[in-house]
Each structure stands twice: as C-alpha cells, then as structure tokens.
Symmetry: C2
Subunit: 192 residues, 2 copies
C-alpha cells in the first residue's frame, strides 16, 4: 500500500498512538489502513466412500489436486462460501454438514475453515479454475500430487476419523519453514 | 475505497472479466482490490466456577460487558490472537485450550472464533479499552448489559454445555434483522 484509498494521498508506515504495530497511516486525512488475515472456506464433498477432488487450472500449484476452497466473500457465511466454491470449482452441489477443520497459516495471513459436505447428485465437472474434477476412494488419493499441506492434512484427518468412526473438529497451525524447500511445520491443537 | 492504494489513481466499481461480483478496479494500473470479511478472535477466560468479563471503554456499546476479543492480526494464529486480546483488554494471561465457537456475522462481514481459556493467575485488570474487568459466577452475569449478541450466545452455550458436563464446538449464523431495533436472528448449525 502506497496511497490512501480514501483520499489518494501518500501513506506512511508508523505505529499510531495507542497501538503497538506499524500501520499504513494517511499523511493527509489521517486514516489508519489495517490489513488483516483472509479466510479461506471449503469442504470435503462426499459421495458414499468417495470424495470429490479438483485439479487446479491456475497458479499457484497448477496441475495439482485440491479440495474445493477459496476466499470468503463479504456478506456470506462460511457455509455459503464453502457451497459457492464447490459450485464454482467443481460445478457440484453439496449439503454442507459440519465444521471439520480450522487451520492457521500465519506465514500467508490466512485461516482455512473446512466443512464436511455431502454431494447432492453426481452432476459435477471442472469449473474455470479446474482442469478436471473426479471422485476418489481413499486408496486412489494422489497423495504425492496434493496442492497444499492444509489440504493434505485435512484429508489425513478425515480418513483417520473415518476409520475411527467418529468425526471431531480439528484445529491446528501450519507454518512454512524458512529455506528453499517446501517444508512445513504442522501442529494440531489437542482436539476433542 | 475511492483511490488505488498501489498507484493513487481513481478506482471504479465493476465486475472484472471472469468474476461475478463488482470489485474496486484501478482505471490506471488495473489492480483489482478485493475486500474480505475480518476475523475476530477471543476466549472465555475461566477461573474455577467464574469467568472474566470486560466492561467496554470504547464505542460501540461503551459501558456494556463483553468477553476479551478483537481483530486477528497478520502473522498471528487465532490462538495467539485470543491470548493477545485477553492480555490487552484484561491484562490477563490465559492458557487457551479448545476451539469453542465459530459464528458468522455476514451483516458486518465478520467471523467470530472463540476459544475456551484458563486464567493462569488472578493478576488481571482493565486495559486501555476496558473500564473494569471482573470474575463472574453464572448467577452474577449481567445478561441485560452484554455488549454483543455473539457474546451473549457464546455465554449461553457455555453454561448449557457446563451443565451437561461436555463442551462441543458450536457453529452458527447471527444476522441483524432490518429495522430500528437491535433484533437478531441466531441460527446454530446442527453441532456435535
Ligand atoms: Zn487519506
Ligand atoms: Zn492503480
């Protein structure tokens, strides 16, 4: 951010009175421009013993597999957002049932909120952001071609819970470790 | 938003190619400026059979009681944010245990993420945004002077769960109904 979005004057980065973090402050109108983490919402769309995965048609991680998920929009709930993303990315209608995971990704200023969903029919297909969309059994999941650690971790929890016969709500932190490789530190909060 | 925060030129509101919602788009550099919901994080700080409430020293709802909570900052996790807000508003240290509620407030573009916490000691007091801070037993809660419906609903779930002897994770939507009064529609997602 270089300019004030309200008056167009240049902003400076400084700690406002009574605050303890540097913010973008307008030199002309005085507005403090806060930036905050974004919420990504999505679901695990289930059909009998299979789940729906999407192969990404866009960067980052083009060509790899993911669950339908995307940024929560203003004026929608997390469930509405999860249903919208499933429709946009997989042309699929789901009944979104239960909150399943909440992950913090502080290195990219995101929190992921994923739900359990049930496909309402088998009329699905790739939306503009997907190359292909298909149903997978556990033994068919392309574990080495999953786009994001948060999606892989969500899927691992899902199959663990399914084997145990009980789905909890899981919370955890996923941080990318410094360095060249794609290495992540995943810590689950003691769940219930 | 009237001006582009990157180049300072005026923005226009239009639906970008491949999108389906109007966004602020810069007429000069073409940047699309998205706005997204904000995350509020907080906790229920417990000490034996009492919980810590804060009386607000700031608008909105100045003078009314609330749980420590505030906007999640970049680069922090929801748990770190809940601990920070408890320290800032109540000068209190908590161990944050479990995710407790996730509420959607689509009319104000917020989602509330509240945790269960345990006070580590009794050294608490009002921070700059609080008039007073004190421990309350259930029968002492000032139900008619709680600042926000999301806080009241969180407290009601907490005491219901405590009576049942089991704390779940609860998700729901809270919407302000049109009209003059402060009337809200509260819908819980079938929880576990
Ligand atoms: Zn300004
Ligand atoms: Zn621009």
């Amino acid at each position: 951010m270089k300019y004030c979005s309200l008056c167009g004057a240049p902003v400076e980065q400084r700690v406002p009175d009574g605050d303890n973090l540097p913010r973008h402050v307008c030199g002309q109108c005085g507005t403090i421009h806060y930036t905050n983490p974004k919420v990504v919402v999505g679901c695990i769309p289930r059909w009998e013993d299979r789940i729906l995965l999407c192969r990404r048609a866009i960067e980052p991680r083009l060509g790899l597999w993911t669950l339908p998920a995307g940024f929560l929009e203003n004026e929608e709930t997390t469930i509405e957002g999860a249903m919208r993303e499933t429709l946009e990315e997989a042309s699929a209608r789901v009944e979104v049932k239960d909150l399943y995971t909440l992950f913090n990704l502080p290195h990219v200023n995101q929190i992921y909120v994923m739900f359990l969903g049930d496909l309402l029919d088998l009329d699905y297909g790739p939306g503009p952001e997907s190359l292909e969309v298909d149903l997978y059994r556990e033994e068919e999941i392309p574990w080495d071609r999953i786009a994001f650690p948060v999606v892989e971790q969500t899927l691992r929890l899902f199959y663990e819970d399914r084997r145990r016969g009980s789905f909890g709500v899981h919370t955890g932190d996923i941080r990318r470790l410094p360095g060249e490789g794609r290495v992540y530190d995943i810590r689950m909060l003691k769940g219930r």
